[in-house]
Every structure is written in C-alpha cells, then in structure tokens.
Amino acid sequence: MQEIERHPNEQRLSDSIPVIAPGHTFASVTDKISAIVLTHRTPIGWFIGAGIAFALTMLLFVAVAYLILKGTGIWGINIPIAWAFAITNFVWWIGIGHAGTLISAILLLLRQRWRTSINRFAEAMTLFAVACAGLFPVIHLGRPWLFYWLLPYPNTMSIWPNFRSPLMWDVFAVSTYATVSLLFWYVGLIPDLATLRDRARHRFGQIVYGMLALGWRGSAIHWNRYETASLLLAGLATPLVVSVHTVVSFDFSIAILPGWHTTIFPPYFVAGAIYSGFAMVLTIAIPLRKFYGLEDFITERHLRNMAKIMLATGLIVGYGYTIEAFMAWYSSNTFEEFMIKNRMTGPYAPSYWSLILCNIIVPQLLWFRRVRGSVPGLFILSLVVNTGMWLERFIIIVTSLHRDFLPSSWGMFRPTFWDWATYIGTLGLFTALLFLFIRFLPMISIFEMRTLLPRTETGEHSAAPERRPA
C-alpha cells in the first residue's frame, strides 16, 4: 500500500488540499490520536453529550420494556399497516451502516487513500447502526423472546425455517453483515490497540489494551499476512454490503404490493443506503473534527469528496423516484397508478413532498463548489439528507401498505408516543455507543495514517528538512 505511484494528475485532481496537513511525523500522528484516548482529562463536552445520549438510551430501554410488557399494540401499527416505524427504522439504520463498509472496503480496494482518516469511525458507525437496526425486527416480532426461532437449529418442534422467504434471507444477511463488520473493524484495530498498550501509562490501560491487542508486535511477516487479510476482507465485504441492502429490498419487492413489487428496488436501495450513510458520516465527522481539533487529519478534502459521493448517489436515488413514477404510468396498471397518485396527493402527501425536497431538491446545492467547501453548510445538508432518507423508507412502507387493492381494507397509520420513543431511543443508543467509542478507542486509524506520511519523516528527533511533496 505504501508504494502507490503518484498519478501525475493527482495534484490537480485532489483540489490541492492534502489528505493530511503538512508537518506531521510518525510520532506526531501517533501522539495526537492516541492522546485523545489516553488523556486523563475527559473534556466536559464529552460528559454533556454522553449524558444526553445515555438519557435517550434509557428512553429506549423504557420503551422496549413497556413493549415487552404490553405488546406491539402500544405502537400505532395495525392491519393493514403492520410495519410502519419499526421497519422504517430498520431499513434506515441498516442503510446508514453501509457507508462505513463502503469507505473501509470499497474505497480500500479502489486505493482511495483519502479514506484513511475516516474509515475507523465510519466502521464504528456501521457497527452501531447495525446494532440499532437489528433491534427493530426483533422487537417487532410480537414475542421478541422467541427470536431464536428464526435461526436454523434442531428443535423439539421438528420444524425448520422457510428458507424461501426473504425475511429469512434478511436474518442471514444482517447477521453476516454484523459479524463481518465487527471482524473487519477489530482486525483494523489490532495494531492501534498495540500502540495504546505501549503508550498507556496506567497499569489498567496497559492490561486491557494489551489483551485486546493480542500480543501484536508489528513483525514484518505478520504485517504481510495482515495486509492480505485486510484486502481479502475488503473483497468479501464489498459484495456483502451490496447484498445486504439488496436482500432488505427483497423484503419489499418480492411481495405483490403496488409500490413494493418492482425490480428497481435493489439498486435503488443500495444507492439510498450509501447516500444516507455518507450523510451520517458527515453528521458525525464535522463535529468530531471540530471538537477534537482533527482538522489536520479530516481535511476539507475529505468533506468535499464525501459531498461528491452524496451528490452522485442522491442523483441515483432521484432516478429511482422518477422510474417509480414512470413505471406506474407506463404499466397502465390501475393499482400502480393509484399508488403513485396516492403518494403524491393522498393523506401522506406532505411526507412525500418533504422527502422530494430533502433528498432531491436541496442536495442539488452540492453542485456548487462553495457549498461543498462550507463546513456548516455540509453539516446542515447532511441532516437534511438523513431526514429525507428516513422519510423515503417511511413513504415506501406506509403509503404502499395503507391503501392497497381493496378500499374496504384501507387504513391510516399515526405514530404514538412509543413509536417516537423507540426511534429516538435508538438515536440515543447510537450516539451513546459513538461517545464510548471515541473515548476508549482511537477514532482514526493510527497505523494507516503513518502510511500516508513520506518515509523520510523520522520522528520528533528528526532534523531532516521537509521532503513531503507539496
């Protein structure tokens, strides 16, 4: 990875903003990132932020406890709208996770070196998002304590799951995704855990990081296998991440419901997942680099590149919406035609048009270089896109279900307090896990940052002149 030839045009292509600010050495990169974890003084802002996040996590615990006590009737769901918030949140969270894998795996295979400083926390984001996502289908089961019936295990009932159902595919896709993301993340952490072990001054830190580092000693032969393993895991994670949202979209597209039964769903879901995921990476990266002073490592070039990916995937999502409307008209199918008309003008029309505003219209601002260069602007846009993508899932699920073929079976969904409490609770859980992560683990991959430095930088004793290419 070290020996990538610089493309003659790289200078021009990179907007002349480096991926790491000049003047850093192996030592300074190591010290700066590990100091965030090994400091004795946790910033007061961390306690405030983590406090709020933990309070919201408690709200989730209350909501889930009450749900288990009372049943899913505490939510606004009923036939015909049995899915509503739970599955909206599931799809939304899973989608958010996808950007982490995209950054860590696909951009690694494509040798996009700018990914280096954002891949670690993006992968952490993936894990936490998948944890939040996985919660929803389980608590939506009605009898969540029997969730293990979904797993193929020899049982006294002498039955097996129906493997022809996309819901079973989902179980395998999401659990594989969670496992592989965890493995990939942990393998990536091992050398940095060794750094923390070697730099921790407290016995407790030395022991805990030492155990987690598994005795990593940076042997060249180990590194060789390590690089092979990283590339292979990236190669495995790449089709996996595409398969996960494809399988999630099968949950819908294999049903015969108008608004669900369409072949465009898999690519459109994957693009939407990357779109919302990059929005979430920006939502997290922008405050992080500000509060922890990481502008040297997460430079404006990172933000701009992510903005460009958002713009590109946003356009694919926009294409998906257009094709949905076009096919409804082109099919001449009464029910399809009604479905799209109902979305645009029915009782949920405000949600539909907010979705179009958030996902299609506002992100067009990203065409402007000034918007891509504006950090507060990108932060606001990322929140807009996150909202828009949540609305997209809500629209797909609720508007398709609430008015299907028979007007006699139509219904309406109105979220209750407990719908919101569960959703906001998972936002709290996600944020709380992120706060713990940035406090106890290096949020930027230290060893990969070292590979970005020219090899002649020898550390703090070095008197050698700067030889970094400008």
Binding site: F26, D31, N162, V180, T195, M211, A220, W223, R225, G459
Partner: protein, 182 residues
Amino acid sequence: MTTGEQQPPLYGLMAEFENPDALIAATRRAYEAGYRKMDAYTPFPIEELSEALGFHRNALPLIVLIGGLMGTIGGYGLLYWTSVIDYPINVGGRPFHSWPAFIPITFETTVLCAALAAVLGLLALNGLPMPHHPVFNAPNFALASRNKFFLCIEAADPRFDYERTKDFLLHLNAREVTDVES
C-alpha cells in the same frame, strides 16, 4: 550483559533504525549475509520488508478460499437438507428444491465463513494471541508501535555469533543495537 557467564539466555540482537529505508536496506544486507532467523518490526506495513526477509509463501488466500467453499457447501447443504429431505413443505407450489431462493443465504454463508477463515487464519498463522514475546524485552521496543523500526537477528540462527553479529548490525547504520533476553 558484557560479562560472559551471568547473562540470561539470549533471544537475539535488536537493531533500531530511524526510518523504513534504513531498515529495508539493513534487512537486505542481513539476508545477503546469510541470516535467516530474523524478523523486522515496524509501526506500519512495509511491503518490501517481508520480501527482504525472504518471506514468500503466504497461505492465507488458500485458507480463505477453503473457508469460503465450506461456507458455500455448508450453506447450500443446510438449505437443501432442511427444505428437501428433513422438512419438505409446499410453499406456493414451488419445488422443494427451489434453488434460486437458496442463493442469497448460500452467498451470505460463503462470505461469513470466508471472513471467519480470514481472521482466524490470520491469527493462527501469526501465532496470535501471544501476550508475551521476548522481543518486548528489548529496551525502546514500545516505539515499534510509534515511530521506530527494528531488526532482530535471533540467537537461534546458525550464523549467529554474538560479537560478529553485533558488529555487523552496528555497521548497518543502526542507531543502537541491544541484547534481547528470552
């Protein structure tokens, strides 16, 4: 350590370098000089180093391939056996062996087993977890995870001779050469 009799058993000699290029050059020279039982320690992966150490056979891709194939066969086998043999159930008139519906899960089990094989294979081949290793006894070795580059020639090497090897390492532009107790 300079007195002959009382020294604890020696694991090897550790040379410290300031930058990767010096380490790569030193490793190549050591290999040319006939040393084989040696290893380099660096804070980040350096491709040329494992070549300079004469390491060419990496078994990991084969392990991952085998893991993936086992996942494919195991996954499809599970679906076939449960859906066709042990619990055949008519779902919407589809055949018991409805293979297109078995593809997604087979794919997932393939990826899962291949990824597990990659991680477990990596740990097994590297002999990890190994909480302690003699090289950690070397002074300054904590910097191998920060900004220093090390080459250790082990005492087990047939060409190892304390004085001659130490002299050799010192002539390779090492910043310092220290003994590593085992």
